[in-house]
């Protein structure tokens, strides 16, 4: 079921990409310039590049859906994902829920509170402003 949906997505996307000039990322929009990423060797412009672009496009859709599901404003998800590099999108697609999310907010149970005071005093953690 899941695989067939993915396959369906892949095929339809490939069709869309080949039929229209939908603007997925091309380093320099004009045809015959060699883009900077190619010169730097950060993108593999070999025979597999078309396949990779389709794959990366799928990852981008995947991450957009994941962000939406996690409460991001639907109007923002596309712009947020568009501003990321292919490898960043890949990282998000694979481990969005495992990555650290900087927040600084605290919900602490008592035992952990005691331990953290000790560790603060020891200079291993840095949580309570009254421990200096």
């Amino acid at each position: 079921m899941r695989i067939s949906t993915r396959l369906h997505k892949l095929v339809s996307l490939a069709v869309v990409l080949s039929l229209s000039s939908i603007s997925f990322y091309v380093p320099v929009a004009q045809a015959a310039l060699v883009g900077t990423t190619a010169v730097l060797g950060t993108s593999t412009l070999s025979h597999s590049s078309e396949r990779q672009q389709v794959l990366s496009q799928l990852h981008r859709q995947d991450v957009q859906a994941q962000l939406k599901a996690r409460g991001v404003d639907p109007e923002q998800v596309q712009a947020r994902v568009n501003s990321l590099s292919n490898s960043e999108v890949h990282t998000l697609a694979m481990q969005l829920d495992q990555l650290p999310a900087g927040a600084g907010g605290l919900e602490i149970v008592l035992l952990v509170f005691l331990i953290l005071i000790l560790t603060d005093i020891a200079g291993i953690t840095h949580i309570f402003t009254f421990v200096r």
Partner: protein
């Protein structure tokens, strides 16, 4: 009883381990870092609201770099409601959306302090808690004092959070020493390395911003005058900005230092053709083809296009062309 015993053992372990100075702090004594205290007082401060240290820290460095923004404006661009926080990668994306180059530092205390002493506030990810009880937090390092062994940060609700160097190293190490520099395109990181810097600049092209990359490539050329990537990037960015003369100059700069760079011949040929100099364009693309390489197919396309234009006369003199 058992519990009390465990906690006291833990306390003992902590006290013992706290005595050891973490490695990078220890190495600072031998490092080549300006010794006098530094504090970048002009860096703005945005007190963090609940869970919003990502937008607050990012606003701090963006506003310092000359962008007009606020944490409230950045929240919809980086905040992830289900996690009640912001991901590192999304801070990079939001930086690009504001025309700034996100540059990740080498994971070293010396790199961080070098940037601060060069006047660059640096955004860091810290784990204020423990590896098994993480409290992830973004802060901006704005100063240090080696004599007193201190780091100074804009952090959370504190405009001036002063902590011991050892403590800072421990809580910073848990994020893998993650440090982000947000610079305007006319400034290079003090610790800039060519390849990662140019890569960081090209990723700006993705959000279809060409002026900041053009500026940044030009800045890179002042530091690394013979950089092929910087010259090519500059040429491509100027081309995208419809600055044909500037693009031609940049590709010629690339060729002056790298006479074997086939892509530079190809791109120069394209610019010359757009300028209506078909004969020169033809010559240049033939050199690209002679050198060959993995982009041969592109050069052949360029050749065909130039030939078509030569035969079609001055059909099209602008650099916009139909495919």
């Amino acid at each position: 009883m058992h519990f009390v015993w465990r906690v006291s053992l833990l306390a003992l372990v902590l006290l013992v381990s706290a005595c050891a100075t973490p490695p990078q702090t220890a190495a600072l004594r031998r490092a080549d870092i300006p010794y006098h205290p530094i504090e970048l007082g002009s860096v703005p401060f945005f007190p963090q609201e609940e869970y919003q240290c990502g937008p607050a820290a990012l606003a701090t460095v963006l506003v310092w770099s000359g962008v007009d923004t606020t944490p409230d404006e950045l929240t919809p661009q980086v905040y992830l409601p289900s996690r009640k926080g912001s991901l590192q990668i999304e801070l990079l994306g939001a930086t690009r959306r504001h025309g700034r180059i996100p540059y990740l530092l080498q994971p070293r205390l010396t790199a961080l302090l070098s940037e601060v002493s060069a006047g660059h506030p640096t955004l860091v990810l810290l784990n204020l808690g423990l590896s098994w009880y993480p409290v992830w937090h973004y802060a901006v390092v704005i100063g240090y004092d080696l004599e007193r062994n201190q780091i100074i940060m804009r952090s959370g609700r504190l405009p001036r959070d002063v902590i011991r160097m050892e403590v800072f190293e421990r809580i910073w190490a848990r994020s893998g020493y993650w440090a982000l520099l947000v610079l305007p395109p006319d400034k290079l990181p003090a610790t800039a390395e060519q390849a990662p810097y140019l890569e960081a600049v090209t990723e700006l092209e993705r959000v279809q911003q060409w002026r900041p990359p053009a500026r940044a490539y030009a800045t890179a050329l002042t530091q690394w005058p013979d950089s092929l990537g910087a010259a090519m990037g500059l040429g491509n960015a100027r081309y995208a900005l419809h600055d044909l003369a500037g693009a031609e100059q940049a590709f010629r700069t690339a060729l002056a230092h790298h006479p074997d760079a086939a892509p530079a011949y190809n791109n120069l040929a394209q610019v010359l053709a757009d300028e209506g100099h078909y004969r020169d364009a033809h010559k240049m693309v033939l050199r690209a083809l002679k050198l060959g390489g993995p982009m041969r197919e592109t050069y052949r396309q360029t050749l065909q296009e130039i030939q078509a234009r030569e035969h079609g006369g001055r059909r099209d003199n602008t650099h916009k062309k139909e495919k």
